[in-house]
């Protein structure tokens, strides 16, 4: 998967978890939680969907790396490149 593919996959997951949120024009370098109304349960759902869909385990210590879209894509790229 490319960086853009991963970005699309993340957007897809968030749009399913938070169907009433507007996800157009997300600034990749601003914290996601400042732009989209996500709480800690939503965040766990994102991690869970990554596991369900792509068999990717994100350990709790790595959660801070999912703060922005850029950092999320950067974190996932080496793990999803081969998918």
């Amino acid at each position: 998967m490319t960086a853009d593919g991963i970005r699309q996959a993340i957007i897809q997951i968030i749009s399913e978890i938070a169907p009433d949120e507007d996800l157009t024009g997300i600034n990749p370098d601003e914290p996601l939680r400042d732009q989209v109304d996500l709480d800690s349960m939503d965040f766990l759902d994102i991690v869970m969907e990554l596991r369900k869909r792509y068999s990717i385990e994100v350990p709790e210590k790595d959660y801070p790396q999912l703060a922005t879209m850029s950092s999320t894509v950067g974190y996932l790229l080496p793990r999803m490149e081969s998918l």
């Binding site: 399913e16 978890i17 938070a18 169907p19 009433d20 109304d37 709480d39 349960m41 939503d42 766990l44 759902d45 869970m48 596991r51 369900k52």
Partner: protein
Amino acid sequence: MRYDAIVIGAGMAGLAAGLRLALYGKKTLVLERHSRPGGLNSWYRAGGYHLDVGLHALTNYNPAAGRDAPLNRLLRRLRLSRAALKLAPQKESWILHYGAKLVFNNDFACLLDNAQARFPGAADGLRKLAAEARRHYMEDRFFTGESARARLPEFIAGPMLREMILMPVMFYGCAAQDDMDWGQFLIIFMSVFEEGLCRPEGGIRPIIDLLTERLAAAGGELRLRAGVHRVITSDGAATGVILDNGEVIESGAVYSSAGWVETAAMCPEMDPAGETAAGAGAMSFLETIHVLDRPAAQLGLDASIVFYNNAPRFAYRKPEAPVDLQSGVVCVAGNFGYETPPPFEQVRVTHIANPDYWMQAPDAQYHTAKDEWPVRSLAALPMDLPDFRSAIAFHDTFTPRTIKKFTGKLNGAVYGAPQKHPDGATPVPGLYVIGTDQGLLGVTGAMIGGVAVAARTALV
């Protein structure tokens, strides 16, 4: 076949819990004895009409509220879009109490102004009550063990206004007689008066359809006409169920929305005695749906919901008579702000009923009573309501016996036993209660409870 989770009952709590468990990636099976999902909130066809069962109105409307508002939080957990529910707000509702009238709508200020005009100084107390309710909600304190009747005078000085505020709150979610838990009172007070009432366009069916579709999309299964005969245990923990037809299905956990006493009947390892059994099944209702040949508003019936009581004190208790006509709730389904008005008008009239009478009456007497009481009910409606009897095109009545038949609820007690179990735990590991005997009541409350128990148990 082995599942991670079996949910007994495809009502609002069961569907919500099943969906949430499936979203957690659990292999989930929802079992429903009836041929249609929905449980206490379902629909059926009669007289050529699609009629709703159960649903008067959804609480917690509040479109302006943020993510932390109960309904929005619930929808997020289930990944449902609020727009998909097509919620139509109430116009205005009335509380008629022994000659006094209060009007409220989905703007809390309306209730404050009305109360203040009739009971000077009341607005301040109601505002404090709302703040107290919000505090309890934010702290998840839904049950305090205190008496609402004992605590209310701190906020509402006058006995008449206290009765008027208690009436809708008790009608819309009190399983106990005469009094209710203070925490539960506060949550329903907030849900009804501050957050407001609405009805989904098309009634309950679109919500049931949405939940069942999403359950399937998330990988969950729903089996209808699949009643559970017995919960099976191994070394004292729940390990599956036996269906009425003898089929054995294994599961890591079992979530029962049947009710505490009803679940204990399926699982002898769960002692049914004790506090929960005490007082279970006392509060039940008689409800008649009247289909009108024209919108009720054309008859001058403009209110969305009318709560009324003709005695100085609101008697929320099992009556001596088969039905208590001193009080009631009239819900006019057409008087909500729909985008597309419903194809016909449904007016439902609900009264407290004596379940012993309706469960035990011999068949002939039962059927006569079922014909007679709706007629008496209409004759006893308050004078403030226009007489709509000549516009009735069709009617159908549910008694406690009807409710028992279709939902399995002991005595047709729609609100379950007074003793609730907010964490869903039972004495049997792996067996959890959701729905009426878990915690909050009503469509929104049942779904919130189902999701909460699913989250608490699936994430450990």
